[in-house]
């Protein structure tokens, strides 16, 4: 299976705390992307990191990529209740357009 895996599967934190989610994948990639899905809604693109990048920031989001370990992490700093959602990593492999999604992390942020 080329499926990515994420951990933890579920994460519960208090507002103001940081949330870290990890993603592992199996193939060589062009880039890795993180998406958020609020309950009953579509996938919202958060950030893309290319295979030659190691770290990227966007607002309260920080993404790292370690291609030698085939892993990535998403850090959300100073979390808010509105960050409650499922978060997915998705990889775009060499020579193909299809995104391979991880299993997702359900984040619950309590006010």
């Amino acid at each position: 299976s080329q499926q990515g895996e994420e951990d933890p599967q579920a994460l519960s934190i208090q507002e103001g705390e940081n949330a870290t989610m990890n993603c592992s994948y199996k193939t060589s990639i062009n880039n890795l992307q993180w998406y958020r899905q609020n309950s009953g809604r579509g996938l919202v693109h958060l950030i893309l990191i290319r295979s030659n990048e190691r770290e990227k920031h966007s607002g309260r989001l920080r993404v790292t990529l370690d291609t030698s370990k085939k892993s990535s992490s998403l850090l959300i700093t100073a979390s808010r209740a509105a960050d409650t959602a499922s978060y997915f990593c998705a990889t775009a492999s060499l020579g193909t357009d299809k995104l391979i999604f991880g299993t997702g992390t359900r984040l619950q942020v309590f006010p």
Partner: protein, 112 residues
């Protein structure tokens, strides 16, 4: 700029019936993708259109699924006949460059 639009947002049909899902991509995006998430499993690729042509349909589960993109604009995904295991959320995405994707809100399909 309007986003990717999918309808219906929800559909409940009986096993054996036919359902057609529609996706309107962002105007000017030649690339259109279908994905689905069946209950409790990961989001999986179904197929990719470039304009009206099927670029990659390796993810289509079987011949009960038919996708079209007439004229290279909107796309439809027909399931005929629907089975219980087809229940899930079907996502459409479009892209101008095969790198950045915009997803629609999805169609939640329930087959009973």
């Amino acid at each position: 700029e309007a986003g990717v639009t999918q309808f219906p947002s929800h559909s409940v049909i009986e096993k054996g019936q036919t359902v057609t899902l529609r996706c309107d991509p962002i105007s000017g995006h030649d690339n259109l993708y279908w994905y689905r998430r069946v209950m409790g499993k990961e989001i999986k690729f179904l197929l990719h259109f470039v304009k009206e042509s099927k670029q990659d349909e390796s993810g289509m589960p079987n011949n009960r699924f038919l996708a079209e993109r007439t004229g290279g604009t909107y796309s439809t995904l027909k399931v005929q006949p629907a089975e219980l295991e087809d229940s899930g959320v079907y996502f459409c995405a479009s892209s101008p460059d095969r790198i950045g994707y915009t997803f629609g809100s999805g169609t939640r399909l329930t087959v009973v």
